[in-house]
């Protein structure tokens, strides 16, 4: 009897707690978050954690490593090729991002004007972005070929140069060439995103400013730019991240050559980890990218999203 009595008292309690849970916003919130959290843990946190861990081991292909502390980083610290790749990556990211921003904003402003065939132009601008990177990289590979470059051919035909331009064989030329290819590819993303931002600015602001006698530069400086800043922050953060982690373009065009002048941290990480077999060191190079990426994110977050500045106040 005592058992059944217990059962009788326990059952309503269980039903009560289930029904209470079903109406508990906190519990439901956690429950609904769970799939996304699992997804992030499995596909983002775990690989990132594994990469960081590998960076502290001497794992090689086919051989589980042991913990070696900071040894990989110490070796990299003394490695000139690594520092060259850091320099190359910063140069590549900075120059390409500035150019992409300037040209992308310019293109967005033009596309925001009343143009004939506006929709057509907007669609066509996206082409470099939708073409797979490897395909456009192969096209650039031909464009920059040491012997068969169409640019060299055209300039030679015009009598402007005597010999083909050594696009990818000279360190400076090679850096400029890969940056140009990256800019060509990245402009549409910046331009179209900024165009979307431009279209959210109410025309009435411009009309009011015009009535007040503002010049077009003043309208851009005091209306367009502040209103666009949040979008610029997001777009440029993404753009910097994409550029910093670029791999395909370099891998197809130069493999990091000539003499490692275009080796980025991502390509060096791959070269050391997979063909070179040193997963630990490759992971360490990849992990060494994280502080730079975090700095880029923090800069855009704190540097470009200052609301007072957007609202016309002081910095």
């Amino acid at each position: 009897m005592s058992v059944s009595a217990d059962t009788i008292t326990a059952a309503p309690s269980s039903r009560w707690s289930l029904s209470r849970l079903a109406h508990d916003h906190n519990f439901l919130g956690l429950l609904f978050l769970l799939p996304a959290a699992v997804f992030l843990l499995v596909f983002l946190t775990y690989p990132l954690g594994l990469g960081v861990w590998l960076g502290f081991t001497d794992t090689r292909i086919g051989r589980a490593g042991v913990f070696v502390g900071l040894e990989n980083y110490e070796l990299l610290w003394e490695d000139q090729i690594f520092w060259l790749s850091v320099f190359n990556t910063i140069l590549y990211t900075t120059v390409a991002s500035v150019l992409k921003f300037a040209l992308g904003l310019w293109l967005a402003l033009i596309l925001n004007e009343r143009l004939p065939f506006k929709a057509f132009f907007r669609a066509i601008v996206l082409l470099p972005w939708v073409v797979p990177t490897v395909l456009s990289a192969i096209a650039f590979w031909w464009i920059y070929d040491a012997q068969f470059s169409i640019i060299s051919w055209a300039l030679q035909r015009m009598g402007l140069i005597d010999a083909p331009i050594n696009f990818l064989g000279d360190a400076t030329n090679a850096r400029a060439s890969v940056i140009a290819a990256n800019v060509w590819r990245g402009i549409p993303f910046v331009a179209i995103s900024l165009l979307a931002g431009l279209q959210t600015i109410p025309p009435s602001l411009h009309e009011a400013a015009t009535l007040d006698g503002a010049t077009s530069w003043q309208r851009f400086r005091y209306i367009t730019l502040p209103m666009l800043t949040p979008i610029i922050a997001v777009v440029m953060t993404f753009s910097v991240l994409f550029t910093f982690t670029d791999f395909q373009l370099i891998y197809v065009l130069t493999r990091g050559g000539p003499l490692n002048a275009t080796h980025l941290m991502a390509t060096l990480s791959f070269q050391r980890a997979i063909p070179g077999g040193q997963l630990g060191e490759g992971a360490a190079i990849a992990v060494a990218m994280i502080p730079f990426l975090l700095a880029a994110i923090l800069f855009s977050y704190f540097g470009l999203q200052r609301r007072r500045w957007q609202q016309g106040g002081a910095d």
């Binding site: 292909i61 051989r63 012997q147 050391r272």
Partner: protein, 438 residues
């Protein structure tokens, strides 16, 4: 060393190998001599991952032979292809993850990077060696570790100079120079006539490494000694670098950026008079009706001999490995054994049109090597090759040094004048020491 039919008949494996030799001449079935029999597991099927062929006949022949195996044993074999540069990462992933193709064709010292993940195939290798005149030492070294075979040496992709005969004659050379000094003179004369030479100084995995290793070894330099101590910074290396600098002056501009395909392109466009490549370069011209005239003019020869007085080249070796994780090890061995039997292997070597050089000595008498004089420089690739990381052991460090382009970069730095030969050698020493550290 070339093994003749007489050697075969007199050798320890005389009877069996002799039968194999006879079979090469079409007078007897080699399979009858099989000492070992591998019985495929019931319901077995295999996945093979190979590099994308450069010569169509190679693939056609391999597939036809595979079909024969399936008909004979009922074992389905699926053959996948990957671009040759993607083989190394794929094999690495398969080894690390423990899943993927049963058999893979890997390059150079790949097998030495994950020997524990590979099936011991010593029984099969010894069986084939005993019946087909033995393995050539070079390819065998790439497939053997601690006295055990971790793969079956499949082929050597020979590397030789391809040149335009008419331009060489026009430059005043009735025959192609055999030594490095004569070769330099030829390249100078060719350049003066507007027909420069061209060898890759960029990140060309195959051609760049072949060229750099030849430069180094022909002058007596080496990366490490027998104990794995880095000895690249030596007077011999400095001499090699000085020679490379002189040779570079005779090149077409832009070779610093050349990847593996660029020398082929430049040669087929008539932009350069000579380069080093597999025989596929000649066949690219021969199979193109528009290049018929050029194909007639192409000749091949081995790279010149340097101060060391002997021919020393890297070439490119490929080994067939079976991963330990395979569910069907017996089927995999049976398959490889079948593909190495005389009927199949001869067919494949012929189909490959001299692109793939045999690793078993008995196949040296394959008629393909005499089919045209253009094939001859490729015939002894397996016999004359010197392994990567010479004179040290094959393994992680030798593979990593090659993957990091240490030699290729060293020669590019010195040849282009970006560093003095002394600086370039010192820098290569530092870079190599990172991998050969204890």
């Amino acid at each position: 060393m070339t093994i003749s039919r007489r050697d075969l008949l007199l050798g320890g494996a005389g009877l069996a190998a002799g039968a194999a030799g006879m079979s090469l001449l079409g007078s007897g079935p080699a399979r009858a001599q099989s000492a070992l029999k591998f019985t495929p597991e019931p319901g077995a099927s295999l996945r093979v991952l190979r590099w994308s062929p450069f010569v169509k006949g190679d693939e056609d022949s391999w597939l036809a032979n595979t079909k024969k195996f399936t008909e004979l044993t009922g074992v389905e074999v699926r053959i996948d292809k990957e671009s040759w540069e993607d083989i190394r990462p794929k094999a690495a992933v398969a080894a690390n993850v423990g899943s993927g193709p049963d058999i893979m064709w890997v390059w150079f010292d790949d097998a030495h990077q994950y020997p524990d993940k590979l099936l011991d195939v010593t029984d099969l290798a010894d069986d084939l060696a005993s019946r087909y005149g033995g393995w050539y030492a070079g390819p065998e070294g790439y497939a053997k570790r601690d006295g055990r075979f971790i793969g079956i040496p499949l082929a050597t992709i020979g590397n030789a100079i391809c040149y335009r005969e008419s331009w060489v004659k026009e430059a005043g050379f009735s025959e192609f120079p055999k030594d490095t000094q004569g070769f330099l003179e030829l390249c100078k004369a060719l350049k003066a006539n507007g027909h420069p030479a061209g060898f890759p100084h960029g990140k060309a995995v195959g051609d760049g490494n072949n060229y750099a290793h030849w430069l180094l070894w022909s002058h007596g330099g080496k990366m490490v000694d027998e104990n794995g101590k880095v000895v690249i910074n030596s007077p011999e290396t400095i001499e090699a670098l000085k020679y490379a600098r002189e040779l570079y002056q005779t090149f077409i501009p832009g070779t610093e950026s050349w990847l593996d395909v660029n020398n082929n392109r430049a040669f087929l466009a008539g932009e350069i008079s000579l380069t080093a490549n597999g025989v596929s370069l000649y066949y690219s011209a021969k199979n193109d009706p528009k290049l018929a005239e050029m194909a007639e003019d192409i000749k091949t020869t081995n790279l010149p001999i340097g101060p060391v007085g002997e021919s020393v080249e890297l070439h490119q070796t490929t080994t067939a490995v079976i991963f330990k994780y395979t569910k069907y090890p017996e089927a995999a061995k049976a398959y490889l054994q079948f593909m190495f039997e005389a009927d199949q292997m001869n067919n494949w070597i012929e189909g490959s049109n001299a692109y793939c050089c045999q690793t078993l000595k008995a196949y040296a008498s394959n008629p393909i090597w005499k089919a045209t004089p253009l094939h001859e420089p490729y015939a002894k690739a397996s016999e004359t090759l010197r392994p990567n990381g010479y004179a040290g052991p094959l393994g992680y460090a030798s593979a990593a040094v090659m993957a990091d382009y240490v030699l290729v970069d060293m020669f590019a730095e010195a040849a282009t004048g970006q560093r003095t030969p002394e600086e370039a050698a010192k820098r290569a020493e530092q870079r190599a020491n990172r991998y050969y550290r204890v």
